[in-house]
């Protein structure tokens, strides 16, 4: 029997190599920006990475030194309050979708979740502005947290649904067969079995909103001084990076790069941890 390749014309073989080569090159090109961005952030960011960066608040414009301690604490506070909103609602909606939502109503909620996921973050910021800032009459950390919390819900809900659906039906049947009421079955058996997956979904949502700037611009607003009062405008790391980046001072630019280095480290660490846990099997099949 002749080798199949003998029958393939030169033109087809050439097209084949050209196409496969282009595909490989495309994949290589796609990874270049990642290394370029990470490289420049590290290169420009380490210069100002002193202890003071984590312990001091910004110096007045143009002065050397200072740090982003208030922004780091502010970001953590915003994310903490956001989780109080996003995590329970997200998990609740996910449980609904997996356990009660195999019908038309469920499809509507599922579709709405996807719509919410696609709403531009600046529009969500505007809604939080209208809901919280307009009623309070001033910018506040609460308003920022509402915006971020809303953004966490669809991610957590859809991922929770996926991991709950991976719990075998027989486990539910076994629990119900033992006379355990449905709510206990759902909470202590199904959710418990999938808890590792749910935790990873929270981390994913966390990483997703940690770098958000647009929804904070007219809710949390930013602050150059110390503030932990949730009722007052508060600083946030991404906002501070943006404000410094558009200033015409070298010192501000250096601080922006260092802020970017800190932010990207936190986020990439979370994502890689998520990925590691996912590969360990807690989320097999869910992405």
């Amino acid at each position: 029997m002749p080798k199949p390749s003998n029958n393939i014309s030169l033109r087809r073989r050439f097209t084949n190599s050209l196409a496969l080569g282009s595909i490989t090159i495309a994949a290589i090109i796609v990874t270049i920006p990642l290394f370029l961005i990470l490289g420049t952030v590290v290169y420009n960011g380490v210069g100002e990475l002193h202890w003071a960066f984590f312990t001091q608040i910004p110096k007045p414009v143009g002065e050397e030194g200072g740090g982003m301690a208030n922004a780091i604490v502010g970001s953590l506070e915003l994310l903490g309050f956001a989780s109080l909103i996003g995590v329970p609602l997200g998990i609740g909606a996910g449980v609904y979708l997996a356990e009660y939502g195999r019908n038309m109503a469920g499809n509507i909620v599922r579709f709405t979740c996807d719509v919410l996921n696609g709403v531009p973050s600046i529009v969500i910021g505007m809604t939080a502005y209208a809901l919280v800032v307009l009623t309070q009459k001033h910018f506040s950390a609460v308003a920022g947290s509402v915006a971020l919390g809303i953004m966490m819900i669809p991610t957590i809900a859809r991922t929770t649904e996926e991991v709950l659906l991976m719990v075998p039906q027989t486990i539910r049947e076994a629990a119900l067969g033992l006379g355990i009421p449905q709510w206990r079955t759902t909470l202590s058996v199904v959710v418990r079995t999938a808890s590792a997956g749910i935790v990873t979904s929270i981390m994913l949502a966390f990483a997703r909103v940690a770098g958000e700037t647009a929804p904070l611009m007219f809710t949390a607003f930013g602050n150059m001084y110390w503030n932990v009062n949730p009722n007052q405008p508060i600083a946030a790391l991404p906002l501070q990076i943006f404000n410094y980046a558009v200033m015409p001072y070298d010192q501000a630019h250096r601080q922006a790069w260092t802020g970017a280095l800190v932010l990207i480290t936190i986020i990439l660490f979370t994502v890689i941890l998520f990925r590691y846990l996912a590969n360990r099997g807690v989320m097999k099949g869910a992405n």
Partner: protein, 314 residues
């Protein structure tokens, strides 16, 4: 004992179900609230300018005369430019990941693509201002200007910052979305299709073209449209590199402005009620645009994967 259990069940089960239904209801309520607030807050501008808001080119806060056309134009052009750059690259990446990449490299490669998606928008913007824009100004724009200037798309002063920079940044940002959805859709194409094509004597590329890409086309289109949805609403990175000038210029070197950027830049400075209301109407336009685009994308992806959960690679 049994009675107690029955009693607990009769009370606790409905209570739990109500709680869970409330959470699901909250999702509906939030989206409802978004629509409601956008409509209420933009009422002033809608009733004053009506439909003309969409086609006017004026942006004059002093005389309170507003039109959204330059912003709609900037949003659409920057996003389409991003698609032109991102689609071939991300489809190529997806095919590489599923069909060519050696098994050992696969999870590393897809991790790299995933990390690209995790970088915050503001950091893309920072990089865009200080690295990408100078690079475009020094190397890319002179090249495009001297070889393709005749098209009219690459003329005028070379600032670096402008529509081209916005398109490139957006392209990098939507690459991972399109690539990961294309990968999912390509994985959903039955293995037998590939084997059949190969058995008929097709080369690998012919197999990919005829058996894989042809079957996956609607799903890939869905991924592309989803990427478009993300690009339309992207705010920070674009605001930082597009130049923020509300003008319609044919040249891609010229600065532009997008719906999301004008909201980000001017919302806290809007002094009059009409100014504020016009900005909210911009958000409403943006919301409707992304809603249409995302619904279309969802439908297309679903038609291929039939609601199957994403399959893990590796």
């Amino acid at each position: 004992m049994r009675k107690a259990l029955a009693k607990e069940r009769s009370f606790a089960d409905p209570a739990f179900r109500t709680l869970v239904y409330l959470c699901a209801g909250a999702v509906l309520a939030i989206v409802g609230l978004i629509v409601y607030e956008l409509l209420i807050q933009s009422h002033l501008a809608i009733s004053k300018f009506g439909f003309k808001f969409l086609v006017k080119q004026i942006w004059d806060p002093v005389n309170e005369d507003f039109g959204a056309l330059p912003f709609v134009y900037g949003t659409l052009v920057s996003s389409l430019l991003a698609l032109v750059i991102a689609v071939p690259l991300s489809v190529g990446t997806a095919l590489f990941l599923t069909e060519i990449c050696p098994r050992a490299l696969r999870s590393t490669m897809s991790l790299l693509v995933e990390l690209l998606a995790a970088i915050p928008s503001v950091i893309y913007g920072l990089w865009g201002i200080f690295v990408l824009a100078p690079f475009l100004r020094k190397y890319v724009q002179p090249f495009l200007g001297s070889y393709f200037g005749w098209t009219g798309l690459f003329t005028g002063p070379k600032y670096g910052i402008g529509m081209l920079a916005a398109g490139v940044i957006l392209a990098i940002m939507i690459l991972p979305i399109i690539a990961s959805i294309t990968r999912e859709v390509v994985l959903a194409v039955p293995q037998q299709q590939r084997e059949a094509a190969l058995a008929l004597g097709a080369t690998k590329w012919e197999m990919l073209r005829m058996a894989v890409l042809r079957n996956a086309r609607p799903g890939i289109l869905g991924g592309v449209i989803l990427g478009l949805g993300r690009a339309l609403g992207e705010t920070m990175a674009v605001t930082m590199v597009i130049g923020n000038r509300p003008e319609i210029a044919k040249s891609l070197f010229a600065p532009g402005y997008t719906l999301a950027s004008v909201i980000a830049n001017e919302f806290t400075e809007a002094t009059s009620a009409m100014y504020l209301s016009s900005l909210v109407e911009m958000a409403l336009i943006l919301f409707v645009l992304t809603l249409i685009v995302n619904a279309l994308a969802g439908l297309l992806v679903w038609s291929i994967t039939r609601g199957m959960p994403a399959r893990a690679l590796a």
